[in-house]
């Protein structure tokens, strides 16, 4: 692919004191591309996702979306477009519907209107048996919370999704459903960086896989 990347990471490095998690990382994501991310435990995969969306600062390097950094666009706007779904998301107290609707109250989403009908449709894409919008979000399992958080990100039409082991608490059938939902959005232009510990899944789901081990290790 030769077009300008949607998301571009240049020379990214993260160190904690003397320990370098990764350094010199260059990574481009094109619109519609699903990129798998693998590496040994503790190699910094979650930290990389947090750094890409600006929840943590890199020690060196920068991330650009459409050629602009978060400092230029404003970080809330940047994260509205480059959205992280955590491995074990916490939902706000209340109903599933309230959890789905919550980001629509944010200033960066003021152009969007929350539509419960559309929310049900997205949940039905991701779940085989979707939770009721009026149901209590506090009783959902980790796997259900993962999928509600993913559905919410899909509903928000983020341009890049950063998915941290999004199917780690799911059975194979449920995982395939999630893969299909994300792939369908990728066909419409969504890009995603997906951490997966399952090589077979990464192979099946992603267009290519990046191994973070090449950039990890060492003490600065």
């Amino acid at each position: 692919m030769s077009s300008a990347p949607l998301l571009s990471c240049r020379g990214l490095a993260v160190s904690f004191g003397a320990r370098t998690l990764f350094s010199g990382l260059d990574l481009d994501l094109q619109a519609g591309e699903l990129v798998g991310l693998r590496g040994r435990s503790g190699s910094g995969k979650t930290t990389l996702l947090r750094t890409v969306c600006g929840l943590d600062d890199p020690t060196a390097g920068e991330v650009r979306l459409d050629g602009r950094t978060g400092d230029e666009t404003g970080w809330p706007c940047f994260r509205r477009a480059v959205s992280l779904v955590a491995q074990e998301p916490l939902l706000p107290a209340g109903t599933v519907g309230q959890a789905m609707a919550r980001p629509f109250a944010f200033r960066t989403c003021s152009a969007l209107r929350y539509d419960p009908g559309l929310a049900r449709e997205v949940l039905a894409e991701v779940f085989d048996t979707p939770p009721d919008l009026d149901g209590d979000a506090g009783v959902l399992s980790v796997g259900e919370r993962q999928r509600v958080a993913l559905s919410r990100a899909l509903l928000l039409d983020a341009r890049v999704l950063l998915l941290d082991e999004p199917t780690s608490a799911l059975d194979p059938e449920a995982a395939r459903r999630v893969e299909a939902a994300v792939r369908a959005r990728a066909d419409a232009g969504l890009a995603a960086l997906i951490v997966s510990h399952d090589p077979a899944q990464a192979e099946r789901w992603c267009d290519r896989v990046v191994d973070l081990s090449a950039n990890t290790g060492g003490r600065s």
């Binding site: 600006g54 970080w75 809330p76 779904v85 998301p89 916490l90 958080a149």
Partner: protein, 267 residues
């Protein structure tokens, strides 16, 4: 209706100490083992209150601004320290935050009450200011410590939920708003409860004191109302100030919830 209370002599105090014998006897009969603690507590009460009495007598005579300021500074510092001591979590600079919130909230409220409502001249007249400041700080430190504890707990234990909001495009203010609201609300609960039951469950302490000292009951009631409003204003202002200062410390201009700021205080 302005009978003054009987003047208490040292002998009267000794007679009152006889009341403690009753508590001591109960402890002995039931083998509670509280006699020694009771004696120490009684001695402490006597020594501390007598010391405060002598200090107040010194502060009240002469109306020296510097002396009043020094007394107020000691009271605010002690209150700030106590507010922080009760919190189960802490962060670098927590003492400064509690101290500043108490100085600003108590300072503004006390000036409004003594200078504007009571029309005292000067506004820092020690006989009015010191007791009122004591009431503001006593309640304010409870409010501030509850507010601090709630806010730090929410930002620590529900960090993932706050960051989920940030990850979906929330500004730091939008992500922090609910923990901040909960914290200020929690800090206000004791004074709201006190206001709700004032006069129904018990007569408030200051009003009781004034009535015992011979004040006309309606005047004592008016004073008590002023005091309740004053405490409510100072507590809410202190809570909001603490919440905003903690917010500005925990979140940076890149709309990140800063890592490693909050730690358990071991209490």
């Amino acid at each position: 209706m302005t009978e003054t209370a009987p003047i208490l002599s040292w002998l009267d105090l000794a007679a009152a100490a006889g009341l403690l014998l009753l508590a001591g006897t109960v402890s002995l009969v039931l083998r509670l083992g509280l006699e020694k603690r009771l004696a120490v507590a009684a001695l402490r009460t006597m020594v501390q209150l007598l010391a405060v009495g002598y200090v107040l007598r010194f502060v009240f005579t002469g109306e020296r601004a510097l002396v009043v300021a020094a007394m107020a500074a000691i009271m605010v510092t002690a209150a700030g320290h106590a507010a922080v001591q009760r919190s189960s979590r802490t962060f670098a600079g927590i003492h400064a935050v509690a101290f500043l919130a108490l100085v600003l909230s108590a300072g503004a409220t006390i000036w409004l009450v003594t200078g504007v409502v009571l029309g005292a001249e000067p506004w820092w007249t020690p006989r009015l200011m010191i007791p009122l400041l004591g009431m503001i700080l006593g309640n304010g430190l409870t409010g501030i410590s509850l507010c601090l504890d709630t806010l730090l707990e929410r930002l620590d234990e529900r960090r993932a939920a706050v960051e989920a909001d940030l990850a979906n495009g929330a500004t730091r203010w939008e992500a922090a708003r609910e923990p901040l609201k909960d914290a200020v609300r929690k800090g206000m609960i004791p004074i709201l409860n006190a206001m709700t039951v004032a006069g129904l469950v018990s007569l408030p302490g200051m009003m009781t004191g004034q009535i015992l000292a011979g004040a006309e009951p309606m005047q004592a009631v008016r004073y008590q109302i002023v005091v309740m409003f004053m405490i409510a204003a100072a507590t809410s202002l202190g809570g909001i100030l603490v919440a905003v200062m903690v917010y500005r410390r925990m979140f940076n201009e890149r709309h990140q919830l800063r890592r490693g700021m909050i730690r358990k205080s071991g209490r």
